[in-house]
Symmetry: C2
Subunit: 381 residues, 2 copies
């Protein structure tokens, strides 16, 4: 049992982690200011199902185990976040309290700066408060594989050994992202590595690929739904494709579709969190894991959805549309991801069964799908 503070507990991953770690018997304090809900509302984007706020959702899971403390607070407020940390003395902080969308960050200068400010300031606050109060607290931060971009060399896990003019050194792997959101995550990493070096913090950075799937519950309790988005701004690609298929509209592949990324099932994300909880870094050490299980091109994903859903009688078309993003569409991509397996991850591989499971959830809510929020409205140029 650990005392764990979860920042950003209302989100897709935040809520799934809350449920899982509560079931595991940890003592949780959770925080969210619902800013993502606020921005989705501003932009007329809704998740597939609008879930109640944390307090209401907690009533159904809050009886049998440790009581969960809950705060409606903004993690960019130093004083308030410090008060929470002082009071609850977490041994671990899991930091999900970031604005997570590339298109959101590229929409205009206001959302662009908001993404930079929210993500950098919340990370700064966590690191600075922990330095002040308890440098032994383990900070787990969600990074993204998008920080690496698409370099022409193998992507290592966080670090790169360089031999140059006959001398050697080891650096953070070069990062070069293709949105302001991903750039904000590069800055997060820089900040955390700074505080780790300077103040001997213990930090884990999970460089995560795009996530898909449902928050499935391994225990006896009913599955606890996590926010499922499928729109052009907040949705991730595989979930969006499945919604398009269920809604009977073509899957929209951006550009050539040869863009390759590493993907992960949300069930594995939760297992990765569990595994990193059990593997506290040494003092002054930044552990970096590339947190994905399989590489796919967008074309491969689209085909997999088409073929899988055909098994349950859904006929799907795939269409290529002009890429709203600026990104390489033909590129080398070979990213290592063995560190997380070494500490025990048993990957959930993507197959038709997984896709059909997600589609069944979406089918249950088919009437709620808003087809108007799927096609990309935000253009990089």
């Amino acid at each position: 049992m650990k005392r764990i503070l979860i920042l950003g507990a209302d989100g897709y991953l935040g809520w799934a982690s809350t449920v899982a770690l509560h079931q595991d018997g940890h003592k949780l304090t959770i925080v969210d200011n619902y800013s993502k809900r606020k921005y989705m509302k501003e932009l007329n984007r809704d998740p597939l199902v609008t879930l109640p706020k944390l307090k209401t959702r907690l009533t159904s899971i809050n009886k049998t185990r440790h009581k969960i403390n809950i705060y409606d607070k903004d993690c960019t407020n130093y004083v308030e976040l410090k008060a929470i940390i002082k009071k609850h003395k977490p041994e671990v902080i899991i930091h999900f309290a970031e604005l997570p969308s590339a298109p959101f960050s590229m929409l205009n200068n206001i959302y662009g700066w908001k993404t930079l400010q929210n993500n950098i300031q919340s990370t700064f606050n966590v690191a600075h408060i922990i330095k002040e109060i308890n440098p032994d607290c383990h900070i787990i931060k969600l990074g993204t594989m998008g920080e690496y971009g698409t370099p022409n060399i193998d992507i290592e896990e966080g670090w790169l050994k360089v031999n140059h003019n006959g001398r050697n050194d080891k650096f953070l792997y070069p990062r070069q992202a293709s949105s302001l959101y991903h750039t904000s995550k590069i800055m997060d990493t820089d900040l955390l590595w700074f505080y780790t070096r300077m103040n001997n913090l213990r930090v884990t950075d999970l460089m995560q690929g795009p996530v898909y799937g449902l928050c499935v519950n391994s225990a006896n309790e009913k599955p606890m739904e996590s926010t499922f988005t499928y729109d052009d701004i907040f949705g991730t690609v595989l979930n969006r494709f499945i919604v398009q298929a269920v809604a009977g509209i073509p899957l929209t592949v951006y550009g050539s579709g040869n863009q390759i990324r590493g993907y992960i099932n949300i069930a594995d994300t939760i297992d990765c969190i569990r595994l990193t909880l059990a593997n506290t870094p040494h003092s002054g050490k930044l552990n970096i894991y590339n947190q994905f299980t399989q590489q796919f091109s967008v074309n491969e994903l689209a085909k997999l959805v088409k073929v899988s859903l055909n098994e349950i009688g859904i006929n799907t078309k795939i269409t290529k549309i002009s890429n709203p993003r600026i990104e390489k569409e033909k590129h080398y991509y070979n990213a290592k991801h063995t560190n997380i397996n070494k500490i025990g991850l048993k990957p959930t591989l993507l197959d038709s069964e997984v896709i059909i499971d997600i589609a069944k959830y979406v089918l249950k809510h088919k009437s709620k799908i808003n087809k108007k929020i799927i096609n990309p409205k935000v253009k990089w140029k």
Copy 2:
């Protein structure tokens, strides 16, 4: 003649550039919100001479050439900065509007975040506005050699070619700084490189070493003083040593004194600005220059001051004090700096004449020296 917008014109470099580029016949618009003055006041630090604000200083140089437009505005205000850029249509923006102090950024969470926010937001605003209004405008940004830290390999000029597992790519040179201030400059570079790639901007990043010296005026006009600071928070090392010598107190070397950095005379800084003005990058190109002329260890600098000032009858002691910073005190340091020479810089080398010139200025104001603000009060730990 170019239309040039100078952001942060009240500072040590900002004012020196304003005077020089005005004399060169450029048409200037200058901006400052005097925030550095405000923070110096809050922290009871004064420059050697408190200069009048820009409007007053401009009266003495504003008659013969192009009228200088002047704004008391905050560059972190997107709307106001955009209005200035829309109105004056600069062909070049020189961005000095950053909080420049490592100790300031390490004082507490408030100044730490202020440094990150001010520096990242002003850079974000410049890049985003230029993207929106005129991507052809040349952005010249002052970076710092401190972004590179003290790696165990040669420091190249901005970029590093990497061969890894038989494949090749070129990246921004790995950056790893030893203060929040320097980290904010790493983030600036990431942002500018992002916008350069995405929107085909034209950007020059001047990775400058610690600056010393006076704002000397090559034309017939009287030298126009620039703010000269010597305190523990805003002063740079050589200027501070000279003030200590003149005040008859020992030069305080932090730690072993074996820390090596690349230094530059402010006269050369101005020439570098002139040279980069004449060398506009191609569209989509980020030009990076390591802007320093000589490497010295802190011990070498202290000895040079001692020996030089002995020539004019000033006897100086050197004392080593516990290093308030966290930095390597014994390290490899070999930084390239040929790019700026290739486009024409004739370096002003540091010798006893230069040091005596600075000392003469300080001697003139000897009675104003406040000995209490020189010893370091800000500790990294």
